[in-house]
Amino acid sequence: MSENIKVLIAKPGLDGHDRGAKVIARGLKEAGMEVVYTGLRQTTEQIVRAAIQEDVDVIGLSILSGAHSHLFPEIMKKLNDSGKDDVLVIAGGIIPDEDHDELKKLGINGIFKPGTPINEIVEFIHQELDVA
């Protein structure tokens, strides 16, 4: 199940809060997934390029700065433009409820708030990728 899943955890923009990103990266790894963490201050191009190069199944975007409404649409557009549109994109951090609809329209269906158990994220990934 988790063994064949490859995940990119990415920090788009200038936000330096990466406690959550690192905890999730380690949690998914311990759940058996292969995880690549980009580190801080990634441009949208860098993230899309890494997703293609690493041929990941999932991209986890972590952001607490509020810049998601600008950066996430760019990432989704660049993924589409480059043909990497089969990837599952999830997000976490400080993302106000009222922005969720807009992000879901872009195809970001998993948006996880602070306090989400890692298992819930693992299950969501399994469900979406249709692995038992």
């Binding site: 600008h70 400080i94 409820d97």
Partner: protein, 552 residues
């Protein structure tokens, strides 16, 4: 003591153990918020090794365990300093004046991420970030707007700015000049703590060596020109937010402090010329009593180090003065109103720990930027502690508690073990380069997450007493159009400047960077002529290079 020991053993065998055997306890093991063991009872036996005069003493006397001032809050309450800033300088100026009108006593500026990383608002990397987590500052013009109608000789201002701290400090001085306020009258703080940016907060620009040099340039400049300014706020806050426990927060913060003192000594400064202006910044987390002990331990530890290791002679050089902010990481997105109670407890611990200034978080901050209403409740929380609770009426009221005193002493020893380890690695800058500090913090962060998930650690509303999530009302929105306006304004300023002046200033900065001259002077000259933060930092990037973070 022999009688006491005997009495204790009798009590333990005949009363405590029997009752525990019959009825059990709520948990197999009791630990603090930082996983340190907690006994059922503390008594005078736990204080046997502690010498009151050497290790606790009276307030205002070495090692300042009970507080840095002889009167503490009986003469003056702590400074209520709410961190604020969003959008444009004009909007933030309005929020500042609102807060001052509502009983806040000091200002604390939040800058947006481009400003913190030394990019102008029209830089490629700034897209989507302008005015988000703080106010956007490009040139002196923004700073003039930010402090419009706020007399800089009457307020003290704290600025959360690190890598480009010299630039923002220079702009603040330039605003004061325009207001006709003498430099000697300026009081406030710049965070200016780059080491914790590498460890925990992420707004670094340059590599450690030139960054430390920028910091010591500021120490030197301020010791001559800005006598009432706190030149650094050595911050454990973000280390704790990144997931460290209380001992790590204490140890790593003090270790950062040691590194800064070493750096200043290495350029030939006298310890007593700069140490009195060093200040600190700690986190107020949930384990109430452990936090009180942590603040007390921090004061003692710093005083001992300054005296014993650095030979400081001035009393002020040994006094650890600190700001506290309640823990952002303790705020829950679930049942957010509960955060009001969390913040009140954390703030109370900070006050009982003797903080000099305090920021209380707004309850809605796990959801987005705080609304005005939420920010007001946060400020009122401080007013209630100050005016109604009575805790400010006597100094260090928890002193003498067997538990508090023994824990204060334990925290000092445990932090010292870490300090020894860091010393073995060659000091804090080396320990950070090797990833040691980052790994220690990440391990704690992960263990805490696991403890919450397996319910060893309870967070109300998150893993116990859960409810279906309800949306709460408004959160503050930043106008997406402001980025364009800010860029336009910057362009106007650029077009009005004399470009040969700008060139001249940037060359002077470059020369000073190359020749190891104090950078504060040419930076101050440059900002007076509206040279932008991005232009100044670009020159320094060219000369110093940029820090490349490794992933540990």
């Amino acid at each position: 003591m022999a009688d006491l020991e005997k009495g204790y053993q009798e009590w333990k065998e005949n009363k405590l153990d029997k009752t525990v055997n019959n009825y059990g306890e709520r948990k197999d093991e009791f630990t603090t918020g930082s996983n340190r063991p907690v006994k059922a009872l503390y008594s005078p036996l736990d204080l046997e090794e502690i010498d009151y005069l050497d290790e606790i003493n009276f307030p205002g006397q070495f090692p300042y365990t009970r507080g840095v001032y002889p009167t503490m809050y009986r003469s003056r309450l702590w400074t209520m300093r709410q961190y604020a800033g969003f959008g444009t300088a004009k909007e933030t100026n309005e929020r500042f004046r609102y807060l001052l009108d509502h009983g806040q006593t000091g200002l604390s500026v939040a800058f947006d991420l481009p400003t913190q990383i030394g990019y102008d608002s029209d830089h490629e990397m700034s897209k989507g970030e302008v005015g988000r987590v703080g106010v956007a500052i490009d040139t002196l013009a923004d700073m003039e707007t930010l402090f419009d109608q706020i007399p800089l000789d009457k307020v003290s201002t704290s600025m959360t700015i690190n890598a480009p701290a010299s630039v923002l400090l220079a702009m603040y001085i330039a605003v004061a000049e325009k207001q006709g306020v003498e430099k000697e009258k300026l009081s406030g703080t710049i965070q200016n703590d780059i080491l914790k940016e590498y460890i925990a907060r992420g707004t670094y620009i340059f590599p450690p060596e030139p960054s430390l040099r920028l910091i010591t340039d500021i120490f030197e400049y301020c010791s001559k020109e800005l006598p009432s300014w706190n030149t650094i706020s050595i911050s454990g806050y973000h280390i704790r937010e990144a997931g460290s426990d209380a001992v790590q927060e204490l140890a790593f913060t003090i270790a950062d402090g040691i590194e800064y003192v070493e750096s200043a000594l290495s350029i030939g400064m006298d310890v007593d010329s700069f140490a009195p202006r060093l200040s600190f910044f700690f986190n107020g987390q949930m384990d109430f009593l452990e936090e009180v002990a942590k603040f007390r331990a921090a004061r003692r530890l710093w005083a001992e180090i300054m005296k014993e290791r650095f030979g400081a002679e001035k009393a002020k050089s040994c006094m650890l003065r600190f700001h506290t902010q309640t823990a952002g990481a303790a705020l829950t997105a679930q049942q957010p109103q509960n955060n009001i109670i969390r913040v009140a407890l954390q703030a109370l611990a900070a006050v009982l720990g003797g903080t000099q200034s305090l920021h209380t978080n707004s309850f809605d901050e796990a959801l987005g930027l705080p609304t005005e209403e939420a920010a007001k409740i946060a400020l009122r929380t401080q007013h209630i502690i100050a005016e109604e609770s009575g805790v400010a009426d006597t100094i260090d009221p928890l002193a003498g508690s067997y538990y508090i005193e023994s824990m204060t002493d334990d925290l000092v020893s445990e932090a010292r073990e870490y300090l020894d380890e860091i010393e073995d690695l060659g000091g804090m800058a080396e320990a950070i380069k090797a990833g040691y500090v980052q790994r220690e913090i990440q391990e704690s962060a992960y263990q805490e997450q696991k403890a919450i998930e397996n319910e060893e650690k309870i967070v109300v509303g998150v893993n116990k007493y859960k409810e279906d999530s309800k949306e709460i009302g408004d959160i503050l929105k930043v106008d997406p159009g402001l980025e364009k306006d800010q860029c336009q304004q910057l362009n106007e300023i650029r077009s009005q400047r004399d470009s040969s002046d700008t060139e001249k200033h940037l060359n002077e900065i470059r020369e000073a960077a190359i020749n190891d001259d104090n950078l504060m002077y040419p930076i101050l000259d440059a900002v007076r002529d509206y040279v932008s933060i991005g232009e100044i930092c670009d020159v320094l990037r060219e000369e110093f290079g940029e820090y490349e973070a490794k992933i540990f």
